[in-house]
Symmetry: C2
Subunit: 638 residues, 2 copies
């Protein structure tokens, strides 16, 4: 670090009035008494970026920062009122000002002109955040946890930055390169759905991608193989999360509980959504008096160590690995993780959960990558018979079920994951109700769906281009449709269940492993006028799977404790077309369209037969080397 600072000081002319050089993660921060010097001499930054292959941020030295009150006044003068500034926060430790506004675009201005003007006048480096149109406690909590102890955060980023300055042996002499290897170990979620965890190792780095729980399992099988001989929590350099669902993120706070104190990379929506799901996971475990694997304290540690990246933003995460997220199309903020390893010696993509088709909510997964040798892809619907209906058919089917049930005066229960399927179906319901003129029909949301929807409203940039257009430019937000009502507590739930008015009920959990959906099922199951609709994958061992299979008598846990035997008489439907997962054809199309073509495809995240079937079909069709590793297996990819 010392050498690095000396080098930089030599390169930067005295006119720049450099006062301090810092590293914040993979970024170099230059503090200057004359920050304008750098905008006047843009070549200077370009040279530093290309020399160190790191992003550079110039900030003003504290002593030249405008007084906060004065600065606030200037901001309000420059930014038009329509921007709707709600909050301005000054973070002195890093010379930054956070401007929260209803319309961030108006704070930024055309080509960033407004922001530039603000910076020139107040010297603080501005950062603009959107005020969510729906109030979200989670988004507030996350922001609060991060900004409360800015000093600790700064220290964490500095420590990480220093580590990232280490030179990699992979860019060393040829002899060392020959000895260089890249391995991936399947720690969980291979030949199964649940507890996803991929461990990528080189001679100098140890990176974990995803670390989920299998909510349908118990005991040691709930968590990934964190006791694998080559894996030590304390030796991890980085954790990467592809999306928020608990089967990908649920065990990360556990890593912090057992000694991890490094960065967790995700997109911004993934950070917020996983926080929500993790807090709920702990809450449920506590309420059910189960063994709680970690506490809220550990979730807060995760937030403090979170580093968010937008899609296509390239970042060094270790001395020899560079991470880029690409849209995965699965849920809000879901990403494929691309690792550029060993100065280009190997390029690996782990798709996480993948939707290679346009949905109501999101654009299809990205298929264009800079480089690619190894593709690790999900196989939830990888079997040759796993073909889904189209979204149009799905909406038609849902319309039929709703019309049919309403005509009998019944209720439609939709067990959904709070994150993803709920919002996808909400948009569909909004469309259906308008199209069919069922204006009196209400849809009740129980569980965390409301909170999750609020987070969706906070990140319109991560939604499909058409939805983003609607929300940002046309000011229509389907989530705010009058048909949706939140179930706030026990009393409202009882009223809904006992009411004789036909209604739609969306409730968590989606797999009916706990959550209000189980109680609704228990209470609605014996009335044949009611119906239920599964829109998401039901893993082996879950209550949802048993109902789906058509078992006529099922023992169901009561909300008040104890079990009750239920005669299943309600109409059970499965609609596959709302899936957030690619079906078999979409998976094959994804492989076919991925550019550049991979050399090797490894399958994961599917029942054993599906992982094997997909691997074998990809080999036969494309002649890529393929395999379907088992948990605890290690594949050398270079």
């Amino acid at each position: 670090m010392k050498k690095f600072v000396e080098e930089l000081n030599e390169k930067i002319p005295s006119g720049a009035q450099l006062t301090e050089v810092q590293v914040e993660g993979s970024k170099i921060i230059l503090y200057s008494k004359n920050p304008e010097y750098f905008s006047e001499n843009p070549e200077l930054i370009k040279t530093i970026v290309s020399n160190y292959k790191k992003r550079v941020d110039v900030r003003a030295t504290q002593e030249i920062l405008a007084d906060p009150d004065k600065a606030r006044q200037i901001i309000n003068e420059i930014v038009p009122d329509e921007a709707g500034i709600e909050n301005v926060t000054f973070v002195t430790e890093i010379s930054r000002v956070i401007i929260e506004a209803d319309k961030p675009g108006l704070v930024i201005g055309k080509g960033g002109a407004t922001l530039k003007e603000i910076k020139e006048k107040i010297k603080w480096s501005p950062r603009v955040e959107r005020v969510p149109v729906m109030k979200s406690k989670i988004v507030d909590t996350v922001r609060q946890v991060i900004y409360t102890d800015m000093d600790a955060r700064k220290k964490f980023l500095e420590k990480l930055g220093k580590k990232l300055l280490t030179k990699s042996s992979s860019s060393g002499p040829k002899e060392e390169k020959q000895d260089y290897w890249v391995r991936m170990t399947a720690l969980g979620g291979f030949r199964q759905v649940g507890r996803s965890a991929v461990f990528v190792q080189t001679p100098e780095s140890r990176v974990l991608i995803d670390c989920g729980v299998n909510v349908a399992a118990t005991g040691t099988k709930e968590f990934p193989y964190l006791n694998a001989p080559e894996f030590k929590i304390a030796d991890l350099d980085a954790v990467v999360v592809t999306h928020a669902h608990l089967d990908h993120s649920g065990a990360i706070p556990y890593l912090f509980k057992y000694g991890y104190d490094g960065p967790v990379y995700s997109t911004p929506p993934t950070r917020d959504l996983m926080t929500m799901l993790q807090l709920d996971y702990v809450d449920i475990a506590q309420r059910e008096a189960k063994k709680v694997p970690y506490g809220n304290k550990d979730i807060h540690e995760l937030i403090k160590h979170s580093i968010t990246l937008d899609y296509k933003e390239v970042t060094d995460i270790t001395s020899d690995m560079r991470l880029t997220f690409y849209n995965a199309g699965h849920i809000l903020g879901s990403a494929q993780a691309h690792l550029h390893i060993g100065d280009g010696l190997h390029n690996l993509i782990y798709t996480g959960d993948l939707k290679y088709a346009k949905t109501n909510l999101l654009d299809p997964a990205e298929t264009n990558f800079m480089r690619l040798e190894t593709l690790i892809m999900e196989s939830t619907y990888g079997g040759r018979t796993n073909i889904q209906q189209s979204l149009e058919v799905a909406e038609q089917q849902l319309t039929e079920v709703i019309k049919n049930t309403i005509s009998k005066g019944g209720k439609v229960l939709l067990p959904v994951l709070a994150v993803g399927r709920a919002q996808e179906v909400m948009i569909a319901l909004d469309k259906i109700v308008k199209k069919e003129s069922m204006s009196g029909l209400k849809c009740y949301l129980d569980g965390m769906i409301w909170d999750a929807t609020a987070i969706h409203s906070a990140y319109p940039e991560y939604l499909s281009s058409s939805l983003k257009q609607k929300m940002l430019n046309e000011n229509t937000n389907p989530f705010l449709s009058g048909m949706f009502h939140r179930i706030g507590g026990h009393k409202e739930r009882e009223e809904l269940i006992t009411s004789e008015v036909p209604a739609l009920i969306m409730a968590t959990s989606g797999m009916m492993q706990g959550g209000p959906s189980v109680e609704y099922f228990r209470r609605l199951a014996e009335n044949p006028d009611n119906s239920m609709v599964f829109v998401a994958y039901q893993p082996e061992g879950s209550l949802g799977r048993r109902i789906q299979k058509g078992i006529p008598q099922i023992s169901v846990e009561k909300l008040s404790g104890g079990n009750e035997m239920v005669n299943v008489k309600l109409d059970v439907n499965t609609i596959s077309g709302f899936s957030g997962h690619s079906d078999r054809n979409q998976l094959m199309n994804f492989v076919s369209n991925a550019r550049p073509r991979p050399e090797r495809v490894l399958t994961c995240h599917g029942e054993s037969s599906r992982c094997i079937d997909l691997a074998s079909s990809i080999y036969k069709t494309f002649k890529f080397e393929t395999s379907a590793p088992k948990n605890l297996e290690t594949v050398r990819v270079r």
Copy 2:
């Protein structure tokens, strides 16, 4: 241990006069003042064996042992003179007497009657060893190292024995069994020939099978990946060696240098032969002023920690693994290692180097096993075109080369591995010379061939049944044929090279990576009247391979230092039929005949294309799951 001793004391009647219970590795040793009690009540031992699944040895308490002088006299009285007793050694620490004799069979007597009589009269437990017909310094050294510090050896075996008393979780409740896994990691010698090392792991054991060096490589590529993240030398529970060649045993002393102090399991000939080769390896490295990876001290440590097993002798090596060696047909003492894992949850065979055909020296590899799920097999000649001539054709070809060269007055150079091919060819030469009545023809042996041959003479039980018959019952030893002469030093070598008398020269090393074969080649290469014959595999990168390829000008290292450019004019022949490796057909036949049939075959020990070709052909022919793992890959076999 304490609990175990108490248990045993309860079970054994006081009439047995038990004085002490000890464990020696996987054996239980009962010291008694009345050892006859156990032979009079044979059910007692049987019960203990079946209860603890361990072998039991009853020995006399020290105080009742006959005085050594008196005992020696009694032994000489009982054993007939023709037995040729040369040495009687008393090892007081373990109440044993070692009787070395020319004809061990006569000391043992029919059905062990003589031995039994000895034991009853002197109380010492006798053990009979053969006096080698050829004097072997190595055999003497090994025996000396073991018996010198008997106290340390006893402590080592006791410590190991206590560890082996631990109960395995694999025999525990069903829940624990479900969590049980077995992995194998390729640490070296996969998709290559050289530095063989297979690491087998379960939740409770870590066993390394083979740990070789790649003599044709340099730097870090000479050794296996002992820095693999899941591997720690100090955590190893056991090391197993399948045969003595350095590519399988050469790195084991290195393990002792870096903290290993556990057992090394091998057959008795493998122990002696690898000691010889390791001492030579260090010696050569020192003479060539190379970096010496370990010293003689570490080799002695290996000997002290050696535990020898005969073929088909079953032994616990960890709390959940049982090892059995089976004949591999490759060289003297070569074995396939069978691991019975987790109380039968999995059975794995690693073939080591394999010859599945009768040779002059050995019987073909064993194919009948108790149980088998995973077969890890060598692929040296695994490519579909790798077909060898028969032994008959090979002998005919060799005869032609010899006759042809002699007629021109030239010399025949045979570069051979000291162990294996040398003895195979010696028997062939003995046959050829007799058949063709070339009685004046001499064959000179340079390098360690003489020592290696002496070790062969010490273990006739490990030779082919026909050879054993000849040596033990007909008293003919082809190795002692008058045609063989040892080159004792520089002067004799010079005389041989400059002499004008036609001759055969067998010299090490076989791959011409150092050793006198290189010097003979340099001096004989430019005379077209001379010829050379390759009888063994020449790995990529070796001098032998380059000569074999027909490169006309080759730079060769001089014995006196420096290099010389040599014009290769001598007649270069390759005869494949003497190979100690199975050819493609023999490998396929081995898989076809192996009983029970394996579920999975992993290939190793071959050039990449051959490992892949063999794996693919086995899959197509037998429909077993197959793969050709790479070094540093981990396969989960259960």
